[in-house]
Symmetry: C2
Subunit: 677 residues, 2 copies
Amino acid sequence: MARLHFIILIFSSIFAISSSSIRPPHPFDALTRTELKLVRNVIKKTYPVGPKYNFTFQYVGLNEPDKSLVLSWHSSPDLNVKPPPRQAFVIVRDNGKTREIVVDFSSRVIISDKIHVGKGNPTLTIDEQEAATALVHKFKPFRDSIRRRGLKLSEVVVTSSTMGWFGETKTKRLIKTIPFYLNGSVNTYLRPIEGMTIIVNLDKMMVTKFKDRFTSPLPKANGTEFRFSKLKPPFGPALQNAVLFQPSGPGFKIEGHIVRWANWEFHLSFDVRAGIVISLASIFDMDVNKYRQVLYKGHLSEMFIPYMDPTDDWYFITYLDCGDFGCGQCAVSLEPYTDCPAGAVFMDGIFAGQDGTPAKIPNAICIFEKYAGDIMWRHTEAEIPNLEITEVRPDVSLVARIVTTVGNYDYIVDYEFKPSGSIKMGVGLTGVLEIKPVEYIHTSEIKKGEDIHGTIVADNTVGVNHDHFVIFRLDLDIDGSDNSFVRNELVTKRAPESVNTPRRSYWTSRPKTAKTEAEARVKLGLKAEELVVVNPNRKTKHGNEVGYRLLHGSAAGPLLAQDDYPQIRAAFTNYNVWITPYNRSEVWAGGLYADRSQGDDTLAVWSERNRKIENKDLVMWYTIGFHHVPSQEDYPTMPTLSGGFELRPTNFFERNPVLKTKPVKLTTARKCIPKDD
Amino acid sequence: MARLHFIILIFSSIFAISSSSIRPPHPFDALTRTELKLVRNVIKKTYPVGPKYNFTFQYVGLNEPDKSLVLSWHSSPDLNVKPPPRQAFVIVRDNGKTREIVVDFSSRVIISDKIHVGKGNPTLTIDEQEAATALVHKFKPFRDSIRRRGLKLSEVVVTSSTMGWFGETKTKRLIKTIPFYLNGSVNTYLRPIEGMTIIVNLDKMMVTKFKDRFTSPLPKANGTEFRFSKLKPPFGPALQNAVLFQPSGPGFKIEGHIVRWANWEFHLSFDVRAGIVISLASIFDMDVNKYRQVLYKGHLSEMFIPYMDPTDDWYFITYLDCGDFGCGQCAVSLEPYTDCPAGAVFMDGIFAGQDGTPAKIPNAICIFEKYAGDIMWRHTEAEIPNLEITEVRPDVSLVARIVTTVGNYDYIVDYEFKPSGSIKMGVGLTGVLEIKPVEYIHTSEIKKGEDIHGTIVADNTVGVNHDHFVIFRLDLDIDGSDNSFVRNELVTKRAPESVNTPRRSYWTSRPKTAKTEAEARVKLGLKAEELVVVNPNRKTKHGNEVGYRLLHGSAAGPLLAQDDYPQIRAAFTNYNVWITPYNRSEVWAGGLYADRSQGDDTLAVWSERNRKIENKDLVMWYTIGFHHVPSQEDYPTMPTLSGGFELRPTNFFERNPVLKTKPVKLTTARKCIPKDD
């Protein structure tokens, strides 16, 4: 029975981390409010800024610092080497053109300014989407169509949707807008008003096409409620509240945006496009008494969510969420104790609004220790006469979480660090389905041979079939920057004649280092192979190459035809795993300009160069995929569906790195006094 | 900020559940001590029992009650139908023969008694393994060999290993014994003394073969220590203790062996071969105000762990752990707060020893609520002007856990129930590697072209390549016993000419009901398909067949040749998923008699009959597989490597079954008073 002596420490675990500080910024710190204002002021010296001058800020973020400079700064004693120049990378829309501007903070000048001449458009701002939908709401033909349907305009919500690309030669900044009907529901997406094609030109901010094609049944409001405060009894299933108390306080420390916990140290930042950015993640190795590099930079690179209804109201719904809408921009404020458990610490997301002034998502990121009841390692040794030994180390991990709600779907993105050296990336899908109104309330009404492209999940309501592909960019630096990718195939061998054995077979590993990008493209599930990123320049004392192994989850690949436009744009889904040589400009797997992109700037295109990747600075790309046939359980909100993968040290350490972890105890209390008593 | 008012309840969450009770036993209750004694007494009337009469109890467990009788009892109001007759199924070894005996408890007589004439032998008892290894320890030629190696006999531990089967026509109950050397280490398995072939006949309890073939280097004791109390500083990484407090007590209630929690009810039992047995799991559906069946019975059926070194000391290491050694018999006593977190309740494992008298594994099973910080569902609705709604339901689940330590490996087996209706089966591998002594301490010493069949993980120590296959038998009864297995393939379609669309493709689902066993054999990862067990006789109000879908993890298949003996014996690994019609006698996927089995009684053989499986009582078999190339991190104990799968309701409910769950709060406290203060 545990003997604990605490009843003591008060730790205010819910506080926002100050984004300003006296110390010089870390090279990976997100731009501060002050810096965002400075960017605007510097640019304002050259350009009239703001929507009324048709000059809008579509992306403002940290200009990726030179990697070699970051590494020499980071590896210098007491960080006494000068950090790399701090700069902002800005994408603006300037009178119908896309302009890329780099602003230097120390000199406070624009150091680079060029017009983007390629395909695709920048990420949509929230402001312009709101302006566009407000415009439609006031657009007379639209109002007439709503009235003609017998609906109340005051109950109509108009939402914006990117259009995709389907072979058009010009890709103006057009969006489609889709109306929904509230009138007794707050679950917007479950009551679409179908049949209208409404296109808005964002640069001109005008409706350029309106067509009322047909009317559909309107799904009922009844059954769409999801607010606890409005639902009627009976409630259930009943779960119990719980209190977590850490007698010695939390195990992590945050200094600026550097997180230190157990044997891990990493920088945690927010980007308006990627959401969470982890950088300079390294792990303390007790054997050599120093931190060793693992992940130079890791983040969400893109999502692809194609829907599987080819008809007019649906064919274009093929979102590249991070590029189209900004996976950071769509981050929501996390709720203490429900979105993130007890002990969580929160961090705001600061970004630039359309006019360049700072905006804030309070509590956009949380960091917490996860006590899931798992076992880190254990062993009961029962073979020794008169001695039974049981040693158990319960597992605790550290999670950095963001939730991105892109309209209907809520994506829970977790980066989990384990003391054993593993990093797990997880995605949870929840929120609300995109649904299509139909006449039907029962499958028996479906016409023979008709494909409804989904499942009847409620009266007049089809949850439409779709995919979710979520790709992570992982700039791994396994114990240094120069790494190789080893495909260690496990192959069946016949037992050799030379060995006197009744066994007829066994498997052996046949490691093969991928020399070029083509050799490193992996469709998972086809063969038994270990995928390992090694540092061929570092070996353990037993001569094994130090490495990290990919433990993948259940894999999904694309089902769209290779010649279909959405698939060309999201060709990064063609393989589950890709390796590229580090290239500062290859960050967004669907292209820097994803909205209406044409697939000429994707990971698949970069990889076609088939560059050498042996003993180089490598980037791993991994796609978590889901094919989603909706079920009635997904209505009116969807229980979380999870996927993920793990990077696990393999011969990175000389021995079990958590062998000498002191066993923690996860105990119960007799009573607790709540925080605010 | 949370306002909590509790500081109150005392709940003694650590107690063993009494296995005796006044109420009549539940049909799935494990045999009690009293019943085990009765079995022995009944059999003793006919046979002289005990090792000295060469009459040993190899398995004593519940004789599977007639399913139709259980179901009619279970579905009767107030359980007022007579439960099925309670009986014990006993396997004894009687003077060199295997005998199967059924004892009826009400009449207290043997109602069936027959000699097993087929292949294979029953599970080994702990007692006979201890007798055999003690015998070897005293065996003069063995002692001479140990002395000749310059080793101290007092430091030698002899362990037992099943022999497998390699084409022999007679499969006597022989085991091989393997000596290890302590002398400064308590990590037995890391110091094998190789080179001797030592075979013991268990029925005759004599050494029948002894051959000292060669000597190997002995790996050092240094570095094998894993007891915290004996390790030397520095310690780390440092993790924080935590206290869990449930102000309203735990959410589950246990009555006898029935567990009720949230919307779940199931029976939890212990079997000396399977470990945990879950039965009659049903979920409360608020819409119809009743419990609905999901899982009639689910448990571990077998494990297969073949090692990949074909040489003399290793070729036979191809364990069928549950059949060879008993996955319940090898269960260890779980430690409160480390093996199972705060709030866990423990249950003993009662079984019959070799002489038929009851033995006990205290705290063999634990049940706990898992607060992992996950989100059950959430949605932020941000589209409605001037209204932002965030609703979040944190996830809590219930876990039943057992840890089976079969010699070196510790298997953590979790059955997790979610309020959303999912059941997750998880296996964690930890413990100690099986290692092979070698001359080498560095990879550069390996001779060109030599296969060391593993990884050098320490000086003179190779962690040998191997697989773990863990198969679960899941007798699903989805809302009733008659079910079908639907393979819902997702197929790419070209966009039809009839639809005016610029899309060129989409996917659609092509559900196909498997008519026979052959149509239901699945190798995962080859194509995009949903695997659903449906009840074709029950439809939702929208006409969808009620079902449960399999969400598989990363899949592994066999790499041994199909004609290799171990693969023939473990042919259940040939597919990841199998469906069989319910058959009371098909329980153990590697055969009822696994030790030295010849593959004539495996799931693969049963399935060859290719029985009809449409709208029948079905059993699903799922194998979690791992190919394990050891790494240095796995030495001297191995951080847990996890795998699993999920059964998730799909159109089982009319809507999200946790929509109306009251949001729990997982908060922090200012201070807590520990339990034993």
